[in-house]
Symmetry: C2
Subunit: 326 residues, 2 copies
């Protein structure tokens, strides 16, 4: 009889994991679909002769179909935030690749963008890689509630990680960015990814807070939640600014996979250092998760290069945005 | 103290598994290298003006370098046979894909065949897929010795499997082959793969017999071994004949991946039905092994299509052969 509470706790943990996976997959479905809806709306507008978005037109703001796309994206983002509250960050972030898959499949169906044999292989690899990541993810979430999360923030590892991030970001913003930013794609992508990692941390806190409704009402949680929302908003703004700058300088087919690799890399590093997610994994699980990650990287690379550079899916984690170039 | 024998048995089992993997990987190394050595020899001969093999020349028989290639291939095959005695067939057969990787890498180094970015991705996928297959392979070998193997042969499952194979092969040889063989690549490939499955079974028996030297000296083992060697020789001859026929009709870049998929498929089916290898696996391991298999299939497909059709690696399991077309 003594074991019963621990068994029920185990079951809750396992259920939480699958809820998180489901939320992450649904999030990718909505975000992948949203790009196609917005693209259809923009194509329709250009057909009826409205001034194109690329030329400074804002006709799309009057189209209900465009707003449907925006709503789908917003809903997808909310699901993504929620996923961080249930499943480990090291599995939710890489699953963002599925939105690239969804938009590639839907584009071939609704936008008549032909899916080549290479594109089809990319889709298959994306599914296989994601399956491997899920199979080998740490099934137990070390951060069950907000209190555990807060205790992690007080550990020296967190302070060290944040100092490294501040030094790295300052170096890129003040010195490396202006000098090498327009020559190497990695420079601003590293900045965006480092800040993206902090966004994920804030998302995690918000997700955990939203999970326990009772905790929301207490004063310290409310204060923490507001801070985290503020941090998240600032981080997302910085990310969007510098990603758009990178996209202006480089082709999206290079930016998308590079950003996926760097962003997921930072989140995995954060998961190891900060959340200690990998302490629960065996060597075999780590090898399997890395294999899955690399297969997904190949898939994102293949899917990004098999399409043309315009209006690509750029959701690769917590931040979604769209650049209307066509 | 009671647990000691079972622990030492566990350790032996685990060691056996890794010996089997090592043998399979080394086998692929030798076989992959052998193709390059033979190709270098043939190129050298054509440079000094000898009659080319494709035009009926036999000058290569006088070249020691060509014989070095043949020896490497023979040694690789012996290692492959031995691997079946140590590790489950469902892991040794898919690892044959590594020889495609080895020959692709060596060809780019020694034959100046440029490895494109797609080819490099294929190499990466081949390594990732193989790692996944090894990670999720059944670590315990259900067929530890020849007696267990013999007891499996007396089970009804074996009789049913053999009846199915005989019916399938007869149907292809008498009816489907002559009618559809020259139109669909799958027809003769199915025949070769079904017979390849039986070759693997014979290999398994030979491997197990060679493993226990003491058993070799007993009369029934000797008789069984001779029968198995005979079966294997006949099967390999049939396989080579019909694979060459298929290669005359279709491009090697289609035949190689199709054969890999069908052959490995038959061996996995045999492993499940006959050797019960998959009974020891969890659902997660099965999903992981299948993911690894499909990633390897994509890799073999990519590596086969990124090269031209001549002198490709055609080792995809127990049988190696080469078709000199150039």
């Amino acid at each position: 009889m003594e074991d019963e509470p621990s068994i029920s706790k185990e079951i809750t943990k396992s259920t939480d994991f699958y809820i998180g996976i489901l939320l992450a997959v649904c999030s990718s479905l909505f975000i992948g679909t949203s790009f196609i809806i917005k693209k259809i709306s923009l194509t329709r507008l250009s057909r009826i002769g409205a001034l194109r978005a690329g030329a400074g037109g804002f006709g799309y703001l009057k189209d209900w179909f465009w707003w449907l796309g925006i709503s789908a994206m917003g809903f997808g983002e909310i699901l993504n935030f929620a996923a961080y509250g249930f499943a480990p960050a090291s599995v939710v972030t890489p699953l963002g690749a599925l939105s690239v898959l969804v938009s590639a499949i839907l584009a071939s169906k609704f936008l008549n963008e032909k899916l080549t044999i290479v594109g089809k292989l990319g889709c298959l690899l994306c599914i296989l890689g994601s399956t491997m990541i899920i199979l080998h993810a740490p099934k137990e979430e070390p951060l069950e509630n907000l209190n555990l999360f807060l205790s992690k923030l007080q550990e020296p590892a967190f302070a060290h990680y944040m100092i490294c991030m501040v030094v790295l970001c300052s170096a890129i913003l003040c010195c490396l960015g202006p000098r090498f930013g327009s020559r190497y794609v990695c420079v601003y992508i590293t900045l965006c990814s480092a800040i993206g990692g902090i966004t994920v941390m804030a998302c995690k806190a918000i997700g955990l807070a939203l999970k326990s409704y009772s905790a929301l009402l207490s004063y310290p949680t409310f204060w923490l939640l507001s801070t985290m929302i503020l941090i998240m908003a600032v981080c997302i703004c910085v990310q969007i600014t510098y990603l758009n700058r990178t996209l202006d300088l480089f082709n999206a087919s290079i930016v998308t996979p590079t950003y996926y690799v760097f962003f997921t890399g930072f989140v995995i590093a954060e998961s190891i250092v900060l959340f200690r997610e990998w302490e629960l994994m065996t060597a075999g699980d780590m090898a399997g998760a890395l294999c899955g990650f690399f297969v997904t990287v190949v898939a994102v690379f293949v899917l990004s290069t098999s399409k043309d550079g315009h209006q690509q899916t750029r959701h690769l984690g917590v931040n979604t945005y769209f650049a209307v170039k066509s």
